[in-house]
Symmetry: C3
Subunit: 343 residues, 3 copies
């Protein structure tokens, strides 16, 4: 677990930042935000339900964020809030200090003279910013990022090392992109002609809203003619593939290793688990939930949960199920024959 680097916060400050009620010493200094299992008496942790009572009893934690109804479970310093998990999320930023940077442009960065950078941006080592690109105030471009021609990155974004933002790709404000993600690559569009594939040049853009999060090595293609669009507050995990012309509605979450084929529309507030494959040219309705590892070939109904596949078994049992599966049609016919027998 990370060393705090000497940064400490007073419990009173933390309670105030969280609009919480402090039961304890406001001058008490917190060294780290920690899990119950690893916390020491100088650390702050949190519980979200009474089921953590046992872990709390075994913990050396010095201060705790919790809800009113659980105040009796702990007699150290307490910060009482309505939603302890959200409070933990909010205060976590105060302990994430290693990526703070003063506004500056590293001398090794290659910034085209026609690019427009706000005054207080941070541009790390070996960053490349091409002609006509625009970078908003407070945005950090970490080492080795690439921003193509006429692309724009909004305000207060954090673009981690090695990210490639193609030409004419547009990000809103407060977007976070993890390392080596690719935004705006050419979609997989080819026309067959005389027995060969001819590339269809991808002329659309990729447009990303505000407060979007994009995981490491995730690739989002630009549109073929119209745009690929990611709305506000969409969160996308690592190694996700989003093909050309896909639209994703606000608040949708997509876990790692998922792939979405071209021209599919994903609604608002969907929950798509990891390793899901979604066919092209279909519509995933608002609020759809999809289990991990599912293959979705048809449009879904709003608010419904979907899954495909079969549960894992030990290999011997799996082989038997798999063999029978391949002959299900025959088994069905045998049942029909039995039903037709004279009684």
């Amino acid at each position: 677990m990370r060393d705090s680097g000497g940064i400490r916060m007073k419990l009173g400050e933390i309670a105030k930042a969280l609009d919480g009620r402090l039961i304890g010493d406001e001058a008490f200094e917190i060294e780290r935000l920690a899990s119950l299992a690893s916390a020491t008496k100088d650390d702050l942790s949190f519980i979200v339900s009474a089921k953590h009572e046992g872990a709390l009893a075994r913990s050396n934690v010095g201060a705790l964020i919790l809800a009113e109804g659980l105040v009796h479970l702990f007699d150290g310093h307490r910060i009482v809030v309505a939603d302890p998990y959200a409070a933990y999320a909010r205060i976590s930023s105060s302990f994430d200090t290693l990526l703070h940077e003063l506004p500056s442009i590293h001398p090794s960065a290659c910034v085209h003279e026609s690019a427009a950078l706000a005054d207080d941006v941070f541009v790390g080592a070996n960053v490349v910013i091409e002609s006509g690109a625009r970078i908003g105030r407070g945005t950090r471009l970490m080492g080795g990022c690439f921003v193509g021609k006429q692309a724009s990155v909004g305000n207060d974004c954090l673009i981690h090392p090695g990210v490639v933002i193609y030409h004419d790709v547009h990000l809103g404000d407060r977007v976070v992109v993890q390392a080596s993600a690719v935004l705006g690559s050419d979609g997989f569009g080819f026309a067959p002609h005389d027995g060969r594939w001819t590339r269809i040049h991808q002329l659309g853009r990729l447009v990303i809203g505000d407060d979007v999060e994009i995981g490491a090595s995730t690739c989002i293609d630009r549109g073929a003619l119209d745009d690929t669009e990611i709305e506000d507050n969409v969160i996308i995990d690592n190694l996700v593939h989003i093909a050309h012309n896909v639209k994703i509605g606000t608040g949708t979450a997509i876990a790692g290793c998922t792939g979405i084929a071209g021209s599919t529309t994903i609604g608002k507030h969907c929950m798509i688990a990891g390793a899901v494959s979604i066919n092209g040219h279909i519509a995933i309705a608002d609020g759809t939930r999809i289990n991990g590892g599912s293959v979705i070939t048809r449009s879904t109904r709003a608010g419904q949960g979907y899954a495909s596949g079969t549960p894992a078994q030990e290999v011997g049992a799996w082989r038997r199920s798999a063999a029978r599966h391949g002959k299900l049609d025959e088994l069905h016919a045998r049942v029909v024959a039995l039903e037709k027998r004279d009684r």
Copy 2:
């Protein structure tokens, strides 16, 4: 949708480039190539069948590429061609102007003195080209690419930002590689020895033909002893994994998130959909088609289509099917018992 940046083409030029018959004004200037839905009266679009008649009626499009039999569907400017979709693909390159570059080597690029570059290459910012590498005429290496020792890139290639081409990897002509792809990484080869894994150094090469397309963050391993080989006009989407010693035949298409394990041979003109897993040491015959999300563990027959897995269901129905699947062998036994009953 992208602004044209002031570039306009005359309809007469376009018709000529496409060997098409123009019905309309050859001096008419086209601003963008656009979808029917977003096209304005200054834009060019296309239709491939009569099923687009409704969309066409609702469109403001000014000029249309279409086939002879559909000429009556539109009374604006028309370019009549044999294959409108292929014509759209061909003309799309004329509207893709942002990546045009004059031959030049950016001062920040690190090019080894022993590397051999053709006169008219474009080498972007922070590109690294190592000793003995060769870059062919007309090729563009965009910002931050890496070309290892003794690697070669043919003529008229386009290598997008952040691509890593390992040592002794060889690309043909007109190869396009999307951002952050990795070409020639070490294969996953280890020998167990005294309860530990010992690395097998990967001594083969990766050899890629002409007119190949490789997607963003796709990784293709070099061979262990012999070479990994990708033949001409293979097209590969994003986040595809191709392991060591794989051979892929000409004209094969592989969609996103697919993985191919080591030493497997893929024939010519196969169509492999997204999120497919293909076992190692098997042969996928020429013209094989594989549905999205399938797991292929055995060799296939030429020209056949394959699939695995079960269709998605709503979660409640899926749970019931899944539970029964795990007891298919028992269900089969019960049917056998019923069949053996005396009538």
Copy 3:
């Protein structure tokens, strides 16, 4: 197959390095380590069992590594060892010469003044090393790598081009990381609050042991509060996703395209095939084996093999099985009804 670049080894040296018994001429010079199929009379190859007898008969190979019991199969130069496959692995490093580098720091590298580099490191072109980072002796950082603040890389590591090592990530000795891998990205942690996702800053580290191998474009997240941990001699293939707080035990092998969700513990010496999806918050026991393409949602038992999914079929047969699968519950009810019939 790769040209040897003029480097030759004498058979006597090779036999000595492998603790092998030489039957043949110790002054015989080997040009390449090669497969049986491609070997010439100047090359060295190996066989691991009598099943290679046919391939050996067709080969032009000049020298062979083999076990005592197979000595009669070949009458050229022979090196007799206990385990020919392990011997091949060990000697392969002697033929992998293109990445040898003299200690040096490329002038284009951006190394922060507070970073601590051992004397004999190799730092390639455009590498970025941030404040407080430590690089051990003998380690090579190839072109364009990024090492974040307070990160550390042990001794004799090989970090291929384009790898991103986030701040406060720690690698042991002899770790090999293939191109564009991402180590220590923020995990996918968000708290819902007022109908929106709030980022949970990821304060844990990523700690990697000795002799670990990490594939191209593989992404391993740092921990949320505690650390993500990869123990010694774990080997991980390309495009693998490892989420926050995962622990992986020593000697475990994970093939390409596999994804492991957050807080799951993987035991020691597990064999996880490609394209496997493993749920979060479960425990994969020591020695577990998982077949390719499986979805694992529950904890496993030590030493057992697991699989899920159904075997691929030709599309027509697959459609029939798939349709029956969706009505398995109904089929079961029909069998129950038959069983209840009066005899």
